[in-house]
Amino acid sequence: MIDSSSGLVPIQAYLLLAAILFCIGVWGLINSRNAVRVLMSIELMLNAVNINLMTFSSYLDGQLIRGQVFTVFVITVAAAEAAVGLAILLSLYRNRVTVDMERFNLLRW
């Protein structure tokens, strides 16, 4: 079994990886014009947060692993969010016959 407390991979490497993943997700969230890709970017950001939680759980809270419990809850909420988001997307597509984010301006003015 790999013991991460004395392992070679430092905690900063995991945190930097999560930061990069989060920033890519933010960029995709802002710049995607396809609504499905926006949902994918949100999933990327949630995964980055999960990596952070798991890293802290393993390196700093190895006995109580509260980070793992939080990750389980985040996964639950992410599943619910994906289901509702895609249902909203389908309903929008039925009314607008497009997935272009620039044309979803129902609540804009």
Partner: protein, 200 residues
């Protein structure tokens, strides 16, 4: 450097490369189907990272929920809304991309600085490793019991909400003329409730 640590480092580097390149592909590729499959790859690589972090239960949950449910849901959504449409070019898209890229790079710089300058309290307590699953179960049924029950209520609400939002209204008479309409909803090419705004 013994063989365990070098293996761990090698696995981490491979998984990190897969995650970064895969997420870049998810965001940048023009074909949305490729993006969805790359997203599945990224989820699998994240599950591998969880294994490196002594969390087998959460890695299994990640594979089951993200790859098995969320990714399949996204693929189904792509299949249902799969219409080749030409996105109208909007002015200033390059400037917008550049500005948002600068903002994201700034956020990344901030996070990197925080990660590097913080004095982490290492080494922490010894990870419990394979007993993590039992410990998560204890947590869920003692001090995290209320969030656990609330999560079940949340999932029920999300399920009912998704059904209500995504189902098609079934009317027995046409809204415009009052005539009876057939119920072959999927085969029906043009339902009276579909307002096609692409032609207007």
């Amino acid at each position: 450097m013994n063989i365990a640590t070098s293996t761990e480092l090698f696995c981490f580097l491979v998984l990190a490369t897969v995650i970064v390149l895969g997420s870049l592909g998810v965001v940048l590729l023009s074909n949305i189907v490729y993006s969805a499959f790359l997203l599945g790859g990224v989820f699998m690589a994240v599950a591998g990272l969880y294994l490196l972090l002594n969390a087998s239960f959460v890695a299994a949950a990640q594979v089951l929920v993200y790859v098995g449910a969320v990714n399949v849901l996204i693929l189904f959504a792509i299949m249902l809304v799969n219409k080749r449409e030409e996105m109208k070019p909007i002015q200033g898209i390059r400037l917008r991309r550049f500005l948002s890229g600068a903002v994201c790079a700034g956020l990344l710089l901030l996070l990197v600085r925080v990660v590097i300058t913080t004095p982490w309290n290492l080494p922490g307590p010894e990870p419990i490793g394979e007993e993590a699953t039992a410990r998560i179960g204890e947590h869920l049924f003692t001090d995290y019991l209320l969030p656990f029950e609330l999560a079940s209520v949340l999932l029920l609400m999300a399920m009912i909400g998704a059904i209500v939002l995504a189902r098609r209204e079934v009317l027995t008479s046409d809204v415009g003329t009052g005539d009876a309409v057939t119920q072959g909803l999927i085969e029906q090419a043009q339902s009276p409730f579909l307002i096609d705004e692409s032609s207007t």
